[in-house]
Symmetry: C2
Subunit: 470 residues, 2 copies
């Protein structure tokens, strides 16, 4: 049933979003301005995301480490572009206890500097390379306006930092991680993404280039969802990371970094969820199945519970004192993909009821059915349906255009991904910002422009995806 605590998505999207966050108990505002409390339901999603993608990292040869939270100002300043990019938005520690520090330290906004400093003292020879490290931690950026999961002063993320003996290896790593992110978004989060290269204006401060996965939300707003950066030797030169190569020559090393954040929880909400609350793809749902007993049915409940659990399905029984109707509603607001209602009357008729969260369909299943196989294939169906629905919507909201007029039209009616060719001049890129804050999302790679630059009408260099961003 429609949840009265949730504003309709089509009436006020922003309000709907915060209503879902609150109703599903994902996070709460804290008394620390711009910082959130991630509540059990939200954190459980993050843990599930972590477990899946961390396994993908390890499978591809990465190791987890932990670097300090604080970065001395002098260390941060070694790479000029990075400090320019981050200085306006870092939090500074100036006192330890009662004592003023000799040098102030910033709370890490990202850790290229610390990893580089570490690599500089530990990498000596090509035999020490590659080093493919990752860390799970919180970072802090002193944002002015914040929105739960999407933009906050503190957020959780993983940051991979690797160092390699050749540019080829480092570039391959940059691409590999982009592919891992794409796979994670599409196969687990059921969110279709566009991948490509950021323009120079939009790339990470200090990167040679940045690759990105871009997703489109229900309301046509774009979300930069994960990035993978190639640094070449930039940081190696700033932090003096040299090694003896196979020809016994001293050479600067090649680096990458890549990250995804708790923002992915925001993407899950804004792509799949509805007016009933959260919708979670089965592959990322902390609880995949909830069983709601109605009446005196504990024997059948125990049997179904055990069967599902034995097959590795994450299942709970809601045996609280609440009414069945209340439980149904709660399972919906929490986004549990499959609900099994086991009732006395149904059992008398030899059936149980299975409800799917995505379409709200209810199916009566004969007790003779192999319930585990049924649930597994239903979860597959839900996973695919969520992906296909998101993809159809994304595709419908992706517009190929040739003129600024068309862009104005789209942005003022219903934004989305706008594909338009571009000459490569940053002035043209900036001029499009006037249209509702439009920015380049990414340059499509291995795709040739078909038209002239959408801005100046000169020869186009790139096919670019544009969008309004969060």
């Amino acid at each position: 049933m429609k949840n009265e605590a949730i504003t309709s998505r089509d009436v006020d999207f922003a309000k709907w979003y915060t209503d879902v966050v609150k109703a599903a108990k994902l996070c709460d505002y804290s008394n620390v301005k711009g910082c959130m409390v991630i509540e059990p339901n939200g954190y459980a999603i993050w843990e599930k995301m972590q477990s899946v993608i961390d396994a993908m990292f390890k499978e591809s040869g990465h190791q987890n480490v932990y670097m300090p939270l604080l970065i001395p100002e002098s260390l941060l300043q070694k790479e000029g572009e990075l400090i320019d990019g981050f200085a306006p938005e870092v939090a500074w520690v100036t006192h330890g206890g009662d004592k003023e520090l000799e040098e102030r330290l910033c709370v890490r906004p990202t850790s290229e500097t610390l990893f580089s400093d570490y690599y500089s003292s530990t990498v000596k020879s090509y035999r020490d390379l590659p080093k493919k490290f990752n860390q799970w931690c919180s970072v802090m950026r002193w944002e002015k306006t914040t929105k739960p999961f999407l933009r906050s002063r503190e957020f959780l993320w993983q940051e991979g930092h690797t160092v390699h003996a050749t540019s080829e290896d480092a570039e391959a790593e940059t691409r590999l991680m982009l592919e891992i992110y794409k796979k994670f978004f599409e196969e687990y989060l059921a969110i279709p993404v566009i991948t490509g290269r950021k323009t120079d204006k939009e790339k990470f401060a200090g990167a040679e280039y940045s690759l990105t996965v871009e997703a489109l939300m229900y309301n046509g707003i774009a979300l930069q969802s994960g990035t993978s950066h190639y640094f070449g030797q930039k940081f190696a030169k700033a932090y003096d990371i040299t090694f003896t190569n196979k020809d016994n020559e001293l050479e600067y090393a090649y680096q990458t970094s890549w990250g995804v954040t708790t923002r992915m929880i925001g993407a899950l909400i804004m792509v799949h969820s509805d007016d009933y609350g959260l919708v979670l793809p089965p592959k990322i749902a902390p609880t995949q199945v909830v069983i709601v007993p109605i009446g005196n049915v504990s024997e059948e409940v125990d049997k179904v519970y055990k069967e599902l659990k034995d097959k590795g399905i994450s299942v709970t029984v809601d045996d609280s004192n609440k009414s069945p109707g209340f439980k149904f509603k709660e399972s919906e607001v929490n986004g549990i993909p499959v609900r099994i209602e086991i009732g006395e009357r149904d059992l008398g008729e030899g059936v149980i009821t299975v409800a799917r969260r995505d379409t709200h369909e209810k199916m009566k299943i004969s007790l003779d059915t192999d319930i585990t196989s049924y649930v597994i294939s239903l979860m597959d169906e839900i996973q695919n349906n969520l992906y296909n629905t998101a993809k159809d919507r994304r595709d419908k909201m992706t517009y190929e255009v040739e003129t600024k007029e068309e862009i104005r039209d789209i942005v003022s009616n219903h934004p989305g991904f706008i594909i338009a060719d571009w000459c490569g001049d940053v002035k043209c890129e900036e001029s499009l910002k006037e249209i509702g804050g439009l920015k380049s999302r990414c340059i499509l790679e291995n795709v040739k422009p078909k038209n002239k630059c959408v801005c100046c009408g000169k020869k186009a260099k790139h096919r670019v995806v544009w969008g309004i961003q969060y």
Copy 2:
């Protein structure tokens, strides 16, 4: 073979400790004073610890959350004892970007304040209780002297914070978590612990009482290894956490907190490790078995590897270009419990060699042996042997005394756990500090004193364990 990079444990224990940390690549000093870089080998141990104990937390009904990193000064100050305890050792954030903050924020040294603030706004009725939350995060305490894993400005930990409707429930929780820590130390880390209650002088700032698990290191120095605190209504009153109880009366809630830290890695080293490097109990070793191939033996290596892996044993093959001798040494310094050497010559004789890390024994095993069962039972044996060795040593270094003279004698010869009765007067407790910094470790519970107070000779109230601490 003896590792020349490691000072002998009996020659210089402090040097031996840092040598092992370095040789096993557990952590590295960073350019951030007092903060460490936890390297892959160290972090993998932490991840294994996390996975085991986090499952124990969840099994006992706890949920993970994430609270902000920064605490506004006014929020920290609400509970007087807490701020007095922590103010001298917190790091203060005073600037966000270029702007001075209106109120300074401290980097969390512990999060009672934030959890209490959250509970204050979310707990309304006894139906909302209990809330049993935990978080995994880093905390910061501006220590002056630091030592890898044992004492550093930043460390990783878990902090559980629970809120209950009755003092009975909260006290039961405090005890439950102490038991979980004890089980984790003894069954997984193979470290015997003494449990008890901290004296008022040594309890956590703001607690009604603190329970502790105390371990004894190889050199007789005590390590406070985990604590569980009962707060009664102290924080509830300071942070206004009230709820409507079953009698429809407004009442302050009852709270607990409990934590263990990366310091446990230090304990693992100082209890089990030796002059060859790290020694890890099989139940906590990230890699339990390494297979070293010697010659052209890939078929047998693959077979053994697959068999062990299929049984859920964490196994790797060291197929690098290094010499077998180098690999043996490396497996020892890294503390891998079991090494399987598969050599051409051995295979010709129908055997493989199995080496155990704890005793350095090498066994020739017939190829007819069920290798998986053999390894599983060997790992059990290693786990038990490590525990028993540690317990025998601890017991031998536990002294029951009646006089200060005896204490002086023990501390100047070889410290350990000293059991002596105490009248309960803090002056007596403090006077013992003159003996090499001796402090109370804990009051033994449900144990009656046998003698007079070891200090003043008056009637004793408590049987107390004393020790020199890290």
